[in-house]
Amino acid sequence: MSDIGLILSIGVIVVGLLWLTIRSLTGREVERRIIFLFIGISVAIPLLFNITVSEKATPIVKGIYDKVENLPSGSKILISFDYGPSMAPEVEPMSDAFLRHALAKGHKVFIMGLWATGQSLGAAAVDKIVKPEFPDKVDGVDYINIGYKAGNQGVLNVIITDFRKMYATDVNGVDLDSVEIFENIRSLKDMDLILCVGGGFPGIKEWVLFAADPGNIPLAGGSAAVATPLLYPYYPKQLIGLLGGIKGAAEYESEMKKNYPRFADMPTPGLNMMGPQTLAHMVVMAFIVIGNLSFFFAKRRKK
């Protein structure tokens, strides 16, 4: 049923664009409302019919996936939630994917945040993902949320030598000395991998400069699209990998889906967003081409 709707609607888009292309050969302009209509359809259809474009992980994304995959089960992974609600639609899929992947692989997960909003978003991720999907994982044994501390990169400066100088308890007020997961953890240097998800200040850059570089700790991250270009220079030396915007998240999700049967039906907000993205980009590009065609043919006719 949905396939028929899908084929039908994509057919409409393709035929419509073709028709406009032919029209443009006579030098005629397309009215803006028609462009609006096409953009609306190209975003709505993939949403309604849940089209997911197959994504293949690029090396920069695969780098993170392989690192998480190849660490021996029980390794210690820290996920830092360095974002707020306004950025969440873009980067939340990344932290969700990291969390799922790490837990499924049997790693110990430490959640923290350099943003005040990160604390509640981390807690929300625990409620949304860990509790329903991994009921056998125990708070304080398999994962822990130590929350937010004020001080931006200053926090990193401290916890790179000692967590307990900054953090006495986790977010639920449980003494860190009494939880199993923190038994052999002294500082950030005891982590096997740090995953930072963010897109502002403080963010991945601060993690590179104040934690990964001085402590020689493997670091990877996910970043909002606006901030991504500024982070590429750190790859591959200081960053194992980087998820850039919603596309990076989608690539990571697709890699997880491919290799884990248990994730076949997991929610994939990143991939879901890719259908509209791809189609909308194609439509915009098509209109640029159409615009140039009508421009050239109109000019030729004038001659």
Partner: protein
Amino acid sequence: MDRSRRISLIIFAGIIILFILSWIIKSTTLLNVGTESLLSIRDAFFITFAAFLTLAIFSFLYKDNPYYKFAEHLFVGVSAAYWMCVGFWSTFVGNFIPKVSTTLSNFFEVPPKEFDIFYFIPLILGLMLLMRLSPKGGWLSRWSLAFIVGTTAGLNLIRYLRTDFITQVSNTFIPLLVDWNGIGPFFSDFSLSASGQFVMTLGNWVIFIGVFSGLIYFFFSKEHKGFFGHASRVGIWVLMITFGASFGYTVMGRVSLLVGRLTFLFKDWLGLIS
């Protein structure tokens, strides 16, 4: 009654019926989930109303129409009041009242702070600003404006000189030849994302030339002729490439916004997708 008027009345009636229908259906679905009856009716109203406003704004893409005008005017009024309330409660009650009057802070139930006579100055300047409303005292408001303009000009002069200007200039000093270790290692890595020496040197040259030709483009004292003309031409090329790239890159973010809005309509309102 002429024809167009009749059509618009029919549309209006249709929208009202659809609105009520959606309200009722939404209420029942919320009731089925187990929300308290009154609450679900209220929430259903608000969700339907929000959806109506969303569609009203989208209708602007077709053309200006009464529904867009309604949403626009409502939005202007409500948001202006919203910021007034935020300003009053957070700045005036939060920052100002505690420092000038214990009685008032008790009245507003904010913890009073140490009395500070200097806080009467902004009060006076603020009242002077309000003198604009009187036809005679308008000139008094210029004192407040002078205070604001003077302070910000001085503050920003320094701030921009320091952050925008000096920082950027000092960042421009980059090596034009990155760590020369002989021809072999220099050309070893052509990958644009990696930090091969050739690529980095190339990048630094592009930055160097781009910055200086860009600066020359913005030079006002000379006609763009001769060497100046060539350099400024390169400058505007670099600018245009940059603008095109930024434009293309932004499409992704903007489409995400539209996805968010359509998700609200399809999921929270219509329940078409899960």
